[in-house]
């Protein structure tokens, strides 16, 4: 049985500047490869304290320890984006982040997008426009799109394309995804906005 090391944890999650700033949570000594240490994770607003070994990635911890299987496991090498989650509010690849580096930092996964029973406007738009087919890319794309809309509430097509450039979709051909992000953005200003004629009928006139 692995020994567990007790560590001081902060009571409240603090929003930090970026992925690099976590001196405050630094562990004083080396963590042995076969030892597990307590990790305090703030996922979708809930606090979890779990014991993990240094080699486990955030993706593995979310899926295997917390049962949050919405975040998908794809290439494991940074190339497909399906494992995208928000860490400190910015999109990162959970397959290439060590769990121990996420100690005491807020994580948002696709499970955290809905507000109770009400889907996120992006989720509504994706469903309505058929922007998900097999759906494997969708959790990562929704997280990346959420970060985009928070930084830029009215992105043009190029900005959407750029924000989602790290997310592979093998089914949709992307057009419906771009249109769904546009519709969700529009509905923030006009809650009853309808999809554009081009989206519905494939042409503008």
């Amino acid at each position: 049985m692995a020994r567990l090391v007790k560590r001081r944890v902060n009571a409240r999650p603090r929003r930090r500047a970026g992925i690099l700033a976590r001196q405050a949570g630094r562990r004083p000594g080396p963590v042995d490869p076969h030892r597990r240490v307590f990790l305090r994770l703030h996922v979708n607003g809930a606090d979890h304290t779990i014991a993990v070994a240094p080699h486990r990635t955030l993706l593995e911890i979310l899926r295997e320890d917390l049962g949050l299987t919405g975040t998908k496991h794809g290439c494991e090498l940074g190339e497909c984006g399906t494992c995208t989650v928000l860490l400190d509010g910015i999109p990162v690849l959970s397959c290439l982040a060590l769990g121990l580096e996420c100690d005491d930092r807020p994580v948002v996964t696709v499970e955290g997008l809905a507000d109770g029973p009400t889907p996120h406007p992006l989720q509504e738009a994706f469903t309505e426009l058929g922007a998900a087919q097999c759906g494997y890319c969708t959790p990562g794309i929704l997280c990346a799109a959420k970060a985009l809309l928070e930084a830029d509430p009215d992105p043009n097509r190029d900005a959407i394309r750029e924000a989602l450039s790290g997310n592979l979709c093998r089914c949709t051909g992307y057009i419906k995804i771009f249109e769904a992000v546009e519709l969700a953005a529009k509905r923030r200003r006009e809650p009853r906005a309808a999809p554009s004629r081009e989206t519905l009928f494939g042409r503008r006139d």
């Binding site: 976590r22 490869p33 240094p54 090498l77 999109p91 290439l96 982040a97 790290g166």
Partner: protein
Amino acid sequence: MRRFAFIEPPDLAAATEALARGAGKAAILAGGLDLLGEMKDRIIEPAAVVNLKTVRGLDAIRFEPDGSLRIGALATLASVAAHPRLGREYPAVAQAAQSVGSVEIRNVGTVGGNLCQRPRCWYYRSPLHKCLKKGGDVCFTTVGQSRYHAILGGGPSYIVHPSDLAPALIACDARITVVGPDGTKDLPLEQFYVLPSVRLDHETILKPGEIVTEVSLPASASADGGTRSRFLKFREKDSFDFALVSVAVALRLQGNSCSAARVVLGGVAPTPWRSKEAESAIVDRSIGPRSAAKAAAAALADASPMSHNEYKIPLARTLITRALLETADQGTGLAPS
């Protein structure tokens, strides 16, 4: 991924000490995008991983009063790409940072990690191939697929250096600072990289225990200091990809006449490839389609393509021509469509 000990040093001294204690079996973790990929593919299996991100103050981007710029090794590519003054003064560097990977890669990837990243050659990355760079006897590109490999400076290994940032920084005359067990070194970034004919196990001069702490750019290479710079990259997949060929140019112009030039290629050689041939072909000339094409031809005069990568020669020539013309506001060199 194999298990490893995880070390979070409070400062640089502790980091170098932990690395020295690891005696070559300890690896530096910055953003981890390249390192964790290598560990998952079992290309390297370090016994300990030293997390540099717990060392404070290595992520600053700072202009000095004299107009020079310092970029900490842990500055993210996203912060380099988004820095307004950096983008104005050293456009090639900002353009190169913006061209790396995807949003998620730039949010996490660091400048130091980008400069020290390992080759993307598919034989090097394949757990099934014990290639020259991994202590084997063959560079498999000489008998296998060489589409993405070197046309300049190759032998005995034909990898290309994958960094986009390195050519741009070298064009802007960057220096790099390395801290290690023997103290601090400060050298031109160009000299940081070594060809496989000199060293096979790594692409840089780094020794175990040495850490890149920052790069610095002189004011003379900035727009304010009278230099114009530009970075162009051609990739196979447009959403995000490594460069098939990239080029960074930095020019000092008097009117349209070029008084000094630096031309550095990426994706064509085992190191970022500075072309003094192209530089001397353009200096003291006025920049136009003919002189730019001549400089581009000079850069590739010594190229020796492998079985599957001859296409890189016209690609590199075109990119150099375009970069020179665009930097001098002489159009793109492309036929109007």
